[in-house]
């Protein structure tokens, strides 16, 4: 029995409404408990800031897209290098770190959980091979369904039971946690170099629309009682004027009743989808319209997809947008179509502060977070490594906390940016409690892992705890942002499952994390109809046999399986 007591902690635990209380946190066998005995290991926080371990609900940390990023960017792998030690393997990479750096760097910042945002089922084994080698943090992944033939056929034939049976099977096959939809229908159109341009376009050869795909998957998601809602990357990403598609996509799910205490729709990296104007020349921020919608509707959540100036490696299942990026920027381009399922693309690029398009993108991310009143509705992400690498989260946290820091940043950004955005006029400064929501509590709630003990410090929760070298009562984040940012970059302590895994930003232990996935029972006629269709597709169109397709248990060594039932 191992026990730990964190004394004199200034705790922010929004899920349990703890707002800066000075208290002790007791840990036994990796879980939070009421109290511990005298022999417990004592950590004296000395009044310093204590958060639940950070949770990242949307990040690209594993799988073929990430790996092609590494292969095509040896210059990136030469950054951030740290030699091996007796305890740690070598670190490499900035936008596309190797598996070791991926886990160590999250832990060094006080993050203990991260969810990979895009798993193509056919390549899920690869994703899990990488996830299994990312040390320390707990993981999960979202499975791609938005351009899948099985999905589109079931929707066209109006057979929701069959659709549910397939989603359940796909989650099982990929050991996935939730339903990801990327540029619905567009991945299939990209199979012949085309795209869909709006919600009511017809997907070539499949006679369904993006609207139908979103709606049906949202309905089925709730009937399956999945822990997470559908997770949508909207159509028309990266195009001026796309905010209208984004708002219309929100509306599709307006009357969906969530089956759990969470949103009915999560829309991801909205920064890339909140653009006004008709072309690059008149592009402008429409974050006000998006925030206005969020302020009036509580059925949905979003994440920022904040842009970080400097190098990024964009990677997405949105294949056509990557080709467009590569042509526009004359950049390297990798494409990765996945038969019957989806597309994908990887393009390295550089965000420049003196480029007003990039400036506007930078402003939109912050505006979305600051103009939306309810902090629970907008998660802080950079859509790593699309907007920029996650190691920059402390920078984003302090940008949200300090107007002065934003002004300092704005002084280096192309002036035209501020004619097209409202960021300069926003006074709001988030506090310690808001940041706890935006970097852990809301992520856990949106993902549906609060009941698995994530994102909070209530009794029974996992003892995932971050202690930062900040005394909240003596620190003014609005002016001392440099010191705050430094403290968030290197936690004083990161505790994962009751084990101190990092101290003063150095790794001290490397336990393996767990992987969350969902198993849903669908036992009506839909299952048989689905299997019939699936067997046909394997016999005629897949290049692998069905018997070799599903991810085997060997690839998920520390699983946490959540069971649900389709009704």
């Amino acid at each position: 029995m191992s026990e730990m007591l964190i004394k004199n902690a200034t705790v922010y635990d929004p899920i349990n409404s703890v707002n800066g209380d000075l208290m002790d946190v007791a840990v036994r066998n990796g879980k939070i408990v009421d109290s511990v005995g005298n022999s417990a290991q004592i950590i004296d926080a000395g009044g310093r800031l204590v958060y639940p371990g950070g949770v990242d609900a949307h990040t690209h940390i594993a799988g073929s897209k990430v790996n092609i990023g590494r292969v095509m960017r040896p210059e990136d792998s030469r950054l951030g290098i740290k030699a091996r030690t007796k305890l740690t393997r070598p670190y490499t990479g900035y936008t596309v770190p190797n598996v070791y750096a991926m886990g160590y760097r999250y832990a060094e910042m006080g993050y203990t959980t991260a969810f990979e945002a895009a798993i193509p089922i056919l390549k899920a084994r690869h994703t899990h091979e990488e996830l299994e080698e990312i040390p320390i943090i707990d993981k999960g992944g979202l499975t791609l369904f938005g351009s899948n033939w099985m999905v589109m056929d079931a929707i066209r034939e109006n057979d929701q039971d069959r659709l549910a049976a397939y989603v359940a099977w796909g989650l099982l096959a990929s050991r996935g946690w939730g339903v990801k939809i990327v540029n619905p229908g567009g991945g299939e159109a990209w199979g012949f170099g085309k795209n869909v341009s709006g919600l009511d376009d017809t997907v070539p050869n499949f006679e369904v629309t993006p609207r139908q795909i979103i709606r049906n998957l949202a309905e089925v998601n709730e009937k399956m009682n999945l822990p997470h809602s559908i997770h949508l990357h909207c159509n028309n990403l990266g195009k001026p004027g796309n905010y209208e598609t984004t708002l219309a996509s929100f509306d599709i799910c307006k009357d969906i009743k969530a089956s759990r205490d969470r949103q009915a729709l999560h829309v991801t990296h909205v920064q890339f989808n909140a653009w006004g104007g008709n072309h690059w020349g008149d592009m402008e921020s429409k974050s006000d319209a998006i925030a206005d919608y969020l302020n009036k509707n509580d059925f949905l959540t979003i994440d920022m997809g904040q842009l970080i100036f400097g190098s990024a490696t964009t990677m997405t299942a949105d294949g056509p947008v990557q080709y467009a990026n590569a042509r526009l920027l004359k950049s390297r381009w990798s494409n990765g179509d996945v038969e019957l399922e989806d597309s994908s693309g990887v393009t390295p690029l550089e965000y420049h502060a003196q480029n007003y398009v990039n400036g506007i993108m930078w402003a939109i991310g912050l505006e979305l977070a600051l103009l939306t009143k309810d902090p629970w509705q907008v998660l802080m992400t950079t859509d790593h490594p699309n907007g920029g690498p996650y190691v920059n989260y402390p920078q984003v946290m302090t940008l949200l906390m300090s107007k002065k820091k934003r002004e300092e940043a704005m002084s280096k950004i192309a002036e035209k940016t501020f004619e097209r955005t409202s960021i300069a006029g926003i006074d709001r400064e988030l506090d310690w409690y808001d940041i706890a929501i935006k970097t852990r509590a809301a992520h856990a709630k949106v993902l549906g892992i609060v009941e698995n003990g994530k994102g909070h410090l209530g009794v029974g929760a996992d003892a995932d705890i971050a202690i930062y070298d900040i005394k909240p009562d003596q620190t003014d984040a609005t002016t001392e942002y440099n010191r705050v940012e430094a403290a968030f970059r290197r936690s004083a302590y990161t505790i994962k499952g009751g084990v101190v895994v990092a101290k003063d930003g150095e790794i001290t232990a490397t336990p393996m994390g767990r992987t969350y996935w969902v198993r849903t029972k669908v036992d009506n006629g839909g299952y048989d109809r689905m299997m019939e269709d699936l067997k046909l597709k394997f016999r005629n169109y897949y290049s692998v046999n069905m018997a070799n397709y599903m991810v085997q248990d060997e690839y998920v060594e520390h699983p946490v399986v959540v069971d649900t039932e389709y009704k």
Binding site: S77, R84, E129, G191, R327, D337, E339, Y541, S543, E554
Partner: protein
């Protein structure tokens, strides 16, 4: 007993539809496989026991696994510049251990791609790789190009399963759905099956690719009458075929990667594909040789950040092809010990490299006798992965699959041997530090 859906441990096609009949723990029949795959699964003269010799010209003597492993560890631990090469004919599980061992001994890890598709990786660093899974091409491609590769001989089921003769969802008439073009310096058996054969003068692929790019971009007037031995009219015709494709796919092999121009050929070919995407959909994919050579590139990339040729002597990965590939190091006579596993340096390296290997201790881990055995000092036989051991392999298109075990044998796996060497190396290094 018939075991179905068996994966084939021969080439990068990683066919997963074999049926293998096993009786009394012996393979008695292999169905659906090509002759080469079937032969590998049926098995042939194995190395029976670990062997050692001090003098490379002398006879081997049989030793215990313990003795062979301990001596291997001793050689690697005291080596200042060990090369750990091969890694293509094995499973990802052992590759992970190989990278760890390389870290432990501060060596260089390099795989067979070094003398194969290594230049393709450099092309990808320059331009990326617009590609997809083999089923995507099988279902959609209406124009199929083979450039400097000969699947009839090297990937015998490729044309039947993925690229030419098979039916696909859109390409639903099989062979008749597709126009097949072959670029090669000689009229191969693959070329004999093509609709169009373009004979390129040896070493002039780069020029031919450039001419095609110019024509596709509407700048055909700058192209001379003949390029690389190919008349301009023929190039214009092929460019038109490619441009008119709804879905074009280029499969390329060592005729492109290992001929004059090397990685620049790949750079140029990828540029052609990128530009063609302004017209229809186009993809390109290297025809990988060993069944899991693609797996090594993947494992190495996610563990070290680099695809191959990784030097760990600094305690962190350092990659600089031209400096850190096996043959760079051997020819500069830097290497003072070589560990060859799941790949055959002896058969494929140039004479100058072989000469160096003749002067340094060589450890071989492999189920089979091959030219590397001839220059080895220590030979450690292991299980045949995918026949006697299950585990992960990556098909040429990056789809990972789990190889099956068909029969039981007493040999240790590559992974077990590596584990023991790592433990022993740690013991030796721990004692000396």
């Amino acid at each position: 007993m018939i075991i179905k859906d068996v994966l084939c441990p021969f080439c990068g096609c990683l066919c997963d539809d074999l049926a293998v009949e096993v009786e009394n723990n012996k393979v008695v029949d292999v169905k659906h496989a090509c002759k080469i795959g079937a032969s590998k699964i049926r098995g042939h003269d194995r190395i029976k026991a670990p062997m050692m010799r001090d003098d490379k010209n002398g006879e081997f003597r049989e030793v215990s696994y313990e003795e062979a492993i301990n001596e291997s560890a001793r050689i690697l631990a005291k080596s200042k510049r060990p090369l750990l090469y091969g890694w293509a004919n094995g499973l990802c599980e052992m590759m992970k251990k190989g990278i760890l061992l390389t870290e432990e001994v501060g060596g260089i890890i390099d795989n067979t791609a070094s003398v194969c598709h290594g230049p393709s990786a450099l092309g990808v660093h320059e331009k990326g790789l617009p590609t997809g899974t083999l089923g995507q091409f099988a279902n959609r491609a209406d124009v199929v190009v083979f450039w400097g590769c000969n699947p009839v001989q090297a990937h015998p089921r490729h044309m039947g399963r993925y690229s030419v003769f098979n039916k696909g969802f859109f390409a639903n008439k099989g062979r008749r759905s597709r126009k097949v073009v072959v670029f090669d310096v000689r009229k191969t058996d693959t070329a004999n099956l093509a609709d169009e054969y373009v004979q390129v003068k040896p070493g002039e692929d780069y020029m031919v690719l450039s001419a095609l790019r110019a024509i596709v971009a509407g700048k055909g007037d700058v192209v001379p009458d003949t390029v690389g031995g190919v008349p301009k009219e023929k190039l214009a015709e092929v460019a038109e075929t490619m441009k008119a494709a709804k879905f074009g796919i280029v499969y390329f092999g060592m005729g492109l990667t290992q001929s004059r121009g090397k990685y620049k050929n790949i750079d140029n070919a990828v540029s052609l594909i990128t530009e063609l995407n302004a017209h229809g959909k186009h993809s390109i994919i290297p025809m990988r040789g060993h069944y899991n050579v693609t797996g090594f590139g993947n494992v190495c990339a996610w563990e070290t950040g680099f695809i191959n040729a990784v030097d760990m002597s600094r305690g962190y990965p350092y990659y600089n092809p031209g400096e850190t590939c096996s043959n760079d190091l051997l020819m500069r006579e830097e290497i003072d010990a070589a560990f060859i596993i799941a790949g055959d340096a002896g058969a494929h390296f140039p004479a100058q490299s072989i000469a160096r290997m003749g002067k340094v201790p060589v450890i071989q881990v492999d189920p089979f006798h091959n030219p590397t055995t001839e220059m080895a000092n220590i030979v450690i036989p292991t299980k045949v992965s995918g026949v006697e051991l299950e585990g992960t392999a990556y098909r040429m298109d990056g789809v990972s699959l789990r190889m099956r075990k068909l029969v039981d044998v007493d040999f240790p796996s590559d992974e077990e041997v590596l584990d023991k060497i790592i433990a022993k190396v740690r013991e030796i290094k721990g004692a000396s530090s």
